[in-house]
């Protein structure tokens, strides 16, 4: 009887976990061997696969070719391959915790991806819109004055000054 109660409680916990939905973001790097014209199709098939797993999209960014900061290796078809470039993109979606696990398994098996990162995030935009560092740092160059160049050069005066210095 006690065991039956435990089983019922476990099922309830699983249902609660399943009903709890969170917002996730998946950042991914696609293999650079995909031609630019086929990239759109690959992205839509990737998104369709996510939709099948019961996600509702919030926002995304189309992948862009990017030079990676370091060389990454990934075994594709039991062959280790190295990548220095990749298409980096991301999708933000809402889904349940159980389907998040399924998505993770799908991403692990996906051989079109060099690497991915799945994180919990918030619905709104997380990129800092205010970019004030350029102004605050004071890195901007001051315009050079042309007054020095416009002054006429008198050779005799310069020669005299040089002679005075030598003597």
């Amino acid at each position: 009887m006690a065991k039956a109660k435990e089983v019922v409680e476990k099922v309830d916990d699983a249902e609660i976990a399943d009903s709890k939905s969170s917002i996730y973001e998946v950042g991914y790097i696609m293999v650079p061997s995909i031609p630019e014209e086929n990239l759109g199709g690959e992205v839509t098939s990737f998104k369709d696969a996510l939709l099948e797993k019961g996600v509702s999209f919030i926002s995304d960014e189309y992948p862009k070719m990017l030079e990676l900061a370091y060389e990454m290796s990934r075994s594709i078809n039991n062959k280790k391959q190295k990548f220095s470039y990749g298409y980096f993109g991301w999708v933000k979606f809402e889904t349940t915790t159980t389907s998040a696990k399924v998505i993770k398994e799908f991403l692990d098996k996906n051989e079109k991806l060099v690497r991915y990162l799945m994180i919990k995030t918030i619905r709104g935009n997380t990129m800092s819109t205010k970019r004030a560092y350029g102004k605050q740092d004071g890195f901007k160059r001051r315009p050079t004055t042309k007054s020095e160049e416009s002054a006429p050069i008198n050779e005799e005066v310069i020669d005299k000054e040089i002679d005075a210095l030598v003597v």
Partner: protein
């Protein structure tokens, strides 16, 4: 008087894709700057560290630059 960059610019979430922002808190050799240098709160320093580590994992930032 210390001034937290994130609080003063009203940045609540530090995104790992915001490379321009993250680079601000790295040394020329791509190491994370200490809290003494960044002058941010310990809570934001932890968030910053997580964002930099995520960006490194995704190959957006280097682990070390020569």
């Amino acid at each position: 008087m210390k001034q937290d960059y994130f609080s003063s610019n009203n940045i609540k979430h530090i995104d790992y894709k915001d490379l321009e922002l993250l680079r601000r808190f790295l040394t020329p050799s791509a190491r994370m700057q200490s809290r003494r240098r960044t002058d941010v709160t310990s809570k934001n320093q932890r968030k910053l560290a997580v964002a930099i580590k995520r960006a490194r994992f995704m190959g957006l930032l280097p682990y070390i630059a020569k």
